[in-house]
Symmetry: C2
Subunit: 354 residues, 2 copies
């Protein structure tokens, strides 16, 4: 069982289609949701659930949460094919959060096409996104791998813990976004990443550990690996935006200075405000708070970030996090190929250029 | 333990405050969400979670889901006080759905004040509402009543089942609302009610049965009672709107013809379209589909509903449902007072006048 990432995608999509078919009929509804008391409306459910879900999935996405889950399962010596339905859990949860986040952020574009709420309406998109929080959790009840009760309970308790923390992280992020001043420091920022992005990573790792019955210290180690990698990924995102902006300073295109124009409180910005002198800090805040930002103001903000060493600082922290992630699982008995894949993954999240 | 409904409210609110305190601090965050990897932002969580949650709860609400849960627990011979934290589960879930529904419907008013998203912004309101889907589910993990593992697992599996059906019901409702024509019949409408409103009722009843370890047939019976009562309640809502409109025909106030102006596909409307002649049906559809509706058009629609006997039909169905609800639990060994309370409840949902 040594497939590469891309090889798994069709099987993952098939497993998702077993959970939510592309075409909804009364038989599916009855088997998944139970017999109706009166009568279901399959056409309505098609429109409210299956169509938006598959629209989003068909736009792409690497399904890497499902793949990472399968890499762990494989590394734990179990057969990934047997646990394919469980791989859908973090994948569908993730896509659900995307839909909801886009409503919250009033995003216009998602994966190169209009955000779902711009196509189906806010109500349908939101309900579909929320439904995707609960649809995959039913896999544990259906229990295709015939897991013993204690593992299913452990999985539910783990999921409730992590999904609570996800909303904590999203709450902090939204709150800071709505505040004019930058009130928080780098450690609060990293905690937000650990909660918001890290928890879905932790779900991937812990679910693989729980369903294959690993001891608690192994579950903790892979959870730490996944959280650290996710936080590094988030910082990588922040760096990428600044680097793209610096690289494209001559073009002033749409991609130029996105985060600064949005006034986003990234790790780089928070660091710069902490480390710069009073005058620079004042100016950076002004630019971030402005409703519209001219290209030369973006350049000015970027210059402050460079001057204070915030790009270097962020890169160092991301590299440290990736190293910590590798160290977290160094003592586990993974085979060489799994260990190599997991190492590779921590490098990819920082070195990617898109 | 023979308190009336109102007597329980302070204790329920105290139990909710144990789960989400009015004032958030780092100690609470650590005890509920676990130690942070870096550092929490209590002020941010206060604003993102506790403030909107308590704003909504402090506006009122009878907490009847929590109370009904306690009535069941009492009726099953257990001590309600011991299970107070579990009573918060359906109550917080319900209030979470209110916040999310208001975003989906773009509602302006909730419990006499601006809808939460109009005060805190759509992003904060939505995230708080979604957090309220997962916060209460952690009570089962905290397990204050020291339940055995099999009951906790049964509770999680039940909750996942019912919360999936809730989103199915909401999906159908939104979908029909967005459609111009009335495509569905009375049985699909009742199914939507059974899913959307009934499932939260089922959660109340089944949770009480599960945590007090009732046999499956008792759990099924109280679930049926709760679902039927909830559907009757929903129909009661539809009737109330029409009756208020007829009663206030002289005033033409804000409350006059709400459902008709919104083009709501109520049981009465669906019945009228099925039973009326082609001309009446055509006219009713026109009035429902209009973007603005004059008072005399509302009166015309109401006259069609009256003429076809739709009000009588809806009342008959609601009364039948309430009778079915009482019959569902008639064979259970409840004490007289519990039996009386549960009977009373099925009558209240139809006879109320607000």
């Amino acid at each position: 069982m040594r497939e590469t990432l891309a090889d798994w995608r069709p099987a993952i999509d098939e497993a998702i289609a077993d959970l939510v078919p592309r075409e909804i009929d009364a038989d599916y509804l009855e088997s998944f949701f139970g017999a109706p008391t009166y009568e279901y409306d399959p056409a309505g459910i098609q429109h409210a659930l299956s169509t938006p879900l598959w629209d989003l999935l068909d736009r792409g996405g690497k399904r890497w949460r499902a793949v990472l889950f399968l890499v762990f399962v494989d590394g734990f010596g179990a057969d990934p094919a047997e646990y394919l339905p469980y791989a859908c859990i973090p994948e569908i949860l993730h896509n659900g959060t995307i839909i909801v986040d886009d409503v919250e952020d009033e995003a216009t574009i998602r994966r190169g096409e209009p955000a779902l709420h711009r196509i189906y309406g806010r109500d349908i998109a939101l309900n579909a996104g929320n439904a995707m929080y609960f649809l995959p959790l039913k896999i544990l009840t259906q229990d295709p791998a015939d897991l013993p009760a204690d593992r299913r309970l452990a999985a539910y308790e783990m999921l409730m813990h992590e999904l609570n923390r996800t909303h904590l992280g999203q709450g902090m992020d939204i709150c800071w976004h709505n505040e004019r001043d930058v009130r928080i420091g780098t450690e609060e920022y990293l905690e937000m990443c650990a909660c918001k992005t890290g928890c879905l990573g932790r779900i991937v790792a812990r679910l693989a550990a729980i369903i294959t019955d690993q001891p608690p210290e192994v579950e903790r180690a892979v959870a730490e690996y996944a959280e650290l990698t996710a936080v590094a990924f988030q910082i990588g995102d922040d760096i990428l935006d600044v680097e793209n902006s610096l690289g494209r300073a001559g073009e002033f295109g749409k991609e130029f200075g996105n985060d600064i124009r949005e006034g986003k409180k990234t790790l780089l910005v928070i660091h710069a405000l902490q480390e710069s002198d009073a005058e620079q800090a004042q100016r950076l805040q002004e630019i971030l708070q402005a409703d519209t930002t001219a290209d030369d103001e973006v350049l000015e903000a970027l210059a402050i970030l460079e001057d204070v060493g915030s790009i270097e600082y962020a890169r160092e922290r991301a590299l440290d996090l990736a190293a910590e992630a590798r160290a977290a699982i160094a003592d586990l008995d993974f085979d060489d190929e799994t260990a190599w894949k997991l190492d590779e993954f921590t490098e990819f999240v920082i070195e990617r250029d898109e």
